[in-house]
């Protein structure tokens, strides 16, 4: 069976279940493993094994994707149709094999599985070759024209702040918890922007935020300010620092920030 139980030193049991890409993948595996003739599948045998596999998955508390259940139903239906006596009909006029459709699907899928294996080989070969990549020194990157900071850029920058700033863990017990509201934070950002002469880098903006919550609220406040066009954001070059500043005139530099 494709289930492999092995004991791990400290974490107790670690269960490895061969990963199947879907019900067709599992069926093909069963057929190949048992060395069965795909053109003449013993449906009863395969159905039992398929169900046994699903049962193992259930025992291991794994979520069984809906597709696996649909296939189980198909197999059971096929099995019962194979078992039912067929209405007597002239031998030369036998109806289509109920398994034909399934076999066709399996063969069709297997074709692409072969191609996938071929692509895997090509990938392996090509991974040994290195070509010049498009990545260049950030210093050499052309300046980004105003108006091209997107929400995605801001999110990427936030991620860097969260990673870099080694944000303090929130203490286990807090006596009077300081309430951080969006409104307060927005006011604070505007005040700090004014204090620093109308320009503040994204990184500096978050330098005083001590906890994860504070960083997140400050980020939401910044998004809200951008949405209301009370501040603007600009990035000098790709991967460069994002600068937050008070809008001058009617320059609109940020794409509409969706909530």
């Amino acid at each position: 069976m494709a289930i492999d139980l092995r004991q791990e030193s400290s974490t107790g049991f670690q269960v490895r279940l061969q990963q199947f890409e879907g019900p067709l993948d599992l069926l093909l595996h069963l057929i190949r493993e048992q060395e069965l003739d795909i053109y003449d599948i013993p449906i009863a045998q395969v159905t039992d094994q398929y169900l046994l596999y699903l049962q193992r998955m259930e025992e291991l508390d794994l979520d069984i994707a809906g597709e696996f259940l649909v296939m189980a139903a198909t197999l059971i239906e096929l099995k019962s149709r194979m078992l039912l006596p067929r209405p007597p009909s002239p031998p030369e006029e036998e109806g289509p094999d109920p398994r034909a459709e399934l076999v066709e699907r399996l063969l069709e899928y297997e074709k692409y599985r072969e191609v996938a294996a071929l692509l895997r080989d090509q990938e392996e070969t090509c991974r040994l070759l290195y070509s010049r990549t498009v990545e260049v020194d950030p210093e050499e990157l052309p300046p980004v024209p105003s108006g091209t900071v997107t929400t995605a850029d801001l999110l990427a920058a936030l991620k860097r702040v969260l990673e870099r700033a080694e944000v303090e863990k929130e203490p286990a017990a807090v006596i009077p918890r300081r309430r951080i509201t969006l409104r307060l934070k927005m006011g604070e950002i505007l005040r700090r922007l004014k204090e620093s002469g109308g320009r503040l880098s994204f990184h500096d903006l978050f330098s005083s935020e001590r906890t994860r919550t504070e960083v997140v609220v400050a980020f939401l406040a910044l998004l809200e300010l951008l949405r209301q066009r009370k501040v603007d954001a600009q990035q000098e070059r790709c991967l460069g620092e994002i600068i937050i500043f008070e809008p001058a005139g009617e320059t609109v530099t940020l794409e509409a920030v969706s909530p």
């Binding site: 019900p23 060395e35 692409y112 692509l119 010049r132």
Partner: protein, 228 residues
């Protein structure tokens, strides 16, 4: 016909091609290089082919034909050193991603429901990551209920897998043959296996002479002779 390159010899053109391939981050077509070198495209093509088939001992670099053009790359023999220098490469594609790509490559333009039908599972997550990697792209929408998005493979797909064009992939007839041969091979293997089983049984009853008596005892206890 454009100019034949005037005084430029084929050697000159080949060196020029080498320069262009050296600076370019993407594969270059003979046409693109011909424009830069101001020589005939056919000559550029010939010069580039000479570089492709150049004696491997001449350089650590090689020129490969890919995605309808030519690209310079390091030779595989030096992959370990280069990897040590430039660091980890992106993760290999998952099997699901490869299957999805295979289906799109052969059926493009095709929709995700069509991919799902063949794979028997939902492919939307996989497709999204392939889009992000630039290996597939949207080609429009199908004139069908729900107007599903049509997908196709990109030039990056060809570069990633080192294919000159989609024609490098085996055609449907070859694939069908591959699959039926495999089914056949499994059956033959089954026959081989039964012969093998028979041989084992015979050997269990009549252990070969060189067999260590202790091993022989084990075999009598019902263990197959694994040393054979």
């Amino acid at each position: 016909m454009t100019s034949d390159g005037g005084s430029l010899s084929l050697d000159d053109i080949r060196r020029g091609v080498e320069c262009l391939l050296f600076v370019s981050p993407t594969p270059l077509t003979a046409r693109e290089m011909a424009l830069a070198l101001e020589v005939d495209e056919a000559l550029v093509e010939r010069a580039a082919r000479e570089l492709v088939s150049r004696d491997p001992s001449q350089s650590g670099l090689m020129v490969r034909e890919v995605a309808g053009g030519f690209q310079m790359a390091t030779r595989p023999d030096y992959a370990v050193a280069v990897a040590r220098f430039v660091g980890k490469r992106a993760q290999k594609l998952s099997r699901a991603a490869l299957e999805c790509l295979a289906i799109i490559a052969y059926n493009q333009p095709c929709t995700l429901p069509e991919v799902d039908a063949i794979r028997g599972v939902d492919s939307s997550g996989v497709a999204k990551s392939l889009l992000d990697k630039g290996l597939i792209r949207e080609l429009g929408r199908k004139d069908a209920p729900g107007r599903p998005v049509l997908y196709g493979t990109t030039e990056e797909f060809l570069v990633y897998f080192g294919l000159k064009s989609l024609d490098d992939l085996p055609d449907q007839a070859v694939l069908e043959q591959m699959v039926s041969e495999r089914a056949q091979a499994v059956l033959e293997e089954t026959e081989d296996a039964s012969v093998e089983d028979a041989r084992r049984m015979v050997e269990q009853v009549f252990p070969p002479d060189e067999q260590d008596p202790e091993d022989g005892a084990q075999a009598d206890a019902g263990e197959p002779l694994q040393s054979l």
